[in-house]
Amino acid sequence: MMDIQLWPVAASDVATRVDAIVLVLLLITGAIMTLVLVLLLTFAIRYRRGSGARRGELPELVKKEVEIGWTAATLFLALFIFAWAAATTLGDARPVGDALEIHVAAKQWMWKTQHPNGAREIDALHLPRGTPTRLLMTSQDVIHSFFVPAFRIKQDVLPGRLTELRFTPTQTGEFPLYCTEYCGTLHARMGGTVTVMEPEDYGRWLSAQPQGDDIGHEGAALFVSLGCSGCHAGRGPVRAPGLAGIWGRDVQLADGRVRRVDESYLRDSILQPRRDIVAGYEPQMPSFSGIVGEEELLRLVAYIRSLPGGQP
């Protein structure tokens, strides 16, 4: 006989926080449910037709005060749960320095993951336990969603946009990964396994993988072959902002706004160069939308990021 499981494994820091809220909410809603059922049954039995229970006018207290009372009580309860849940949400969203960055590309119907050193996996992801992890995800076709129940994390993966997930695995083991945004014929088979290992084991595993070029190197090659270096490396006839060390800095834009240089800014600047022109430059760069694909974008961004002085 299989043993019946009632609570999913909690294998990340997020899972611990979520489970705490779930537990308290279960208690609260359980109490409300019980209250309603007990009231319904008690009233239904006590005041069945012809029973000897006292009828007559409703006590004055039951009329207005009770109504206002439970309206206020529900409202405060709702606000309390909201406040707690929102605080947790905000806490989870706080960026952690030095996270392990994994790039995830989804397509019908597989997950492609890539480690910082270039090692690639399909429908699988190996992670070291206890290391803050950041997934940078994009889709090559329709919307997918990255869901690992044991981590209590889920995020839609969109075409033409980067989304991310942050968490720290806290338990070793193999955990199922599902696609949870309906994506066509084989949606139900678009899954995989996330394997969490002790950091040493992860290091060993990683070094045993066939090393692709790391992402930054691949980006460097693209930077030349796409012609970016013609202007941005400062040698060409056209004046364009240099990119060395701009990662993480704030740049002044021509229209007075200030933007932090991060993934989404670099992405926008490659795909829609006229949107955020850096102050002092002419809008001359052509759009690379439709020319560079999602995975290439990830590499270009990784390259620009790796340029000297890249870390603030």
Binding site: T29, L40, F43, T71, I81, T89, D92, V142, P159, S289
Partner: protein, 566 residues
Amino acid sequence: MSDIAAEGPIPGDAQPHQGLRGGPSYLTAEHGLAAWFLTTDHKRIALLYAAALTVFFFIGGAGAVAIRMELFTPQADLLSADGYNRMFTLHGTVMVWFFLVPSIPNTFGNFLLPLMIGARDLAFPRLNLFSWYLFVGAGALLVYALVAGGVDTGWTFYTPFSTAYSQSYVMAAALAVVLVGFSSIATGVNFIATVHMLRAPGMTWFRLPLLVWALYGTSLVIVLATPVLTLVLLLIVAERAFGLPIFDPAYGGDPLLFQHLFWFYSHPAVYIMILPAFGVVSELVTCFSRRQVFGYTFMVYAILWIAVVGFLVWGHHMFVSGQSLFANIVFSFLSFIIAVPSAIKVFNWTFTLYRGQITFDAPMLYALGFIGLFTLGGLTGLFLASVPIDVHVTDTYFVVAHFHFIMVGGTVSAFYGGLHFWWPKITGRMYPDVWARFAAVLMFFGFCFTFFPQFIMGFLGMPRRYQVYPPEFQIWHVLSSSGAVLLAGAYLLPMGYLAWSLIWGERAEEDPWKATGLEWRTSSPPPRDNFRTMPAVDTGPYLYHPDEEGPRHDRPQAHQNQGRET
């Protein structure tokens, strides 16, 4: 889901149904096919809707049967992967737009709204008939899309899958939904105008029965939300038919924009489905408790609160979509706020029982079942409104269970409750009460059996829209599929004994439940013009007992009926 129109014999019945006060009823007033299909009588149109809705309930139900059979084992047994995807799309599309949204408003609403406010008909009778034809036309188009090869986008039509990747009949299905939307809007406009313009003398706003308020709130939501659905589906059609890249990410289009517009309709649509059920249950609970409804004004404001705030919470369907953190928090806040009026309603129904003289006729059993199921469905909504929990359970069976508790446990139970309550008024016949009580109890347990396991497997991580699944979830699926057998039985059973009652049922009195509303102040079934002489109103609703004392079991009659004929 009455079988009345399918039965068909009523117009030409050998024993003409005579109202108690003599004169022909609306069923016998005119004969022949044209008198039905060209009628502008709101009561006959309600029956036309009932017939059409019954057909769609069976189509959507067949989809559910196929899904539950397939999910009995973790492997693919019956259907291909595409076949399964088409099946859940069929189930969702048909059940949402062709059953749940029109269910209570277009049958009971059409039949009862003019009766309850003391009017001869709806404000625009021909528009009413027109909206039925639109509904049937839309239904035909949808059936074409399903028969021609089906649709595999899910009822949500998410882009870019629906625009650029799906190989199925998306355009026909989208246009069908656009058409049925026009039908909804026509009904909504008609109801609002009727409530504003055709109330009987003395029927002030705060004397309206709660079902009328609920239908009024629903109609407001229909009129203001449906056009946005129309728009977003037209944009999908434009993208598929003419290659206009509105949502195409390759051109910089935004797939999230689609989701925002879609849920701007589809969340209020949940309230379109549940508000009328609130109205029905309010009528039932107060009548069978013989007690004035507890907190009438709070009930009214709760309906309006839901109707308004319902427009502002759509973003809680998109917590994991990639919308901003700020948006997530705001939508989470508003979603908690909208829990309050629902809670008010649950407490008020419960306290209506307090110091009542309660009888447990079939409609009351359905109503009590509704309160239990709706409460559980609503409370699980709190889990979904909390962003961190929603991230874990959204797009899993937890959500599937949640909305089935609200829409099926809630709306469909209320529909059956209403059907048993007003059946004598609609057909002039009584049904066998024992069978009806049995069906009500069976429906409650069958429902819990089917959908409660889905909460557990959803929390364990079972994603929705999966044809094949890991074996550890099988036990829950087996429970769910077994429960579905009971539930199907509970849905079919009333169709049997209600059809039986049409011929062999006892004739109903004018007011078999001793209820207070105006619809009971006329014969069963009512005459063509609803009332022999038009009623006037001088009290609020639900005066089952005098204000200063409780109801007495030795006096079954209501203390004061709401209207009298002038």
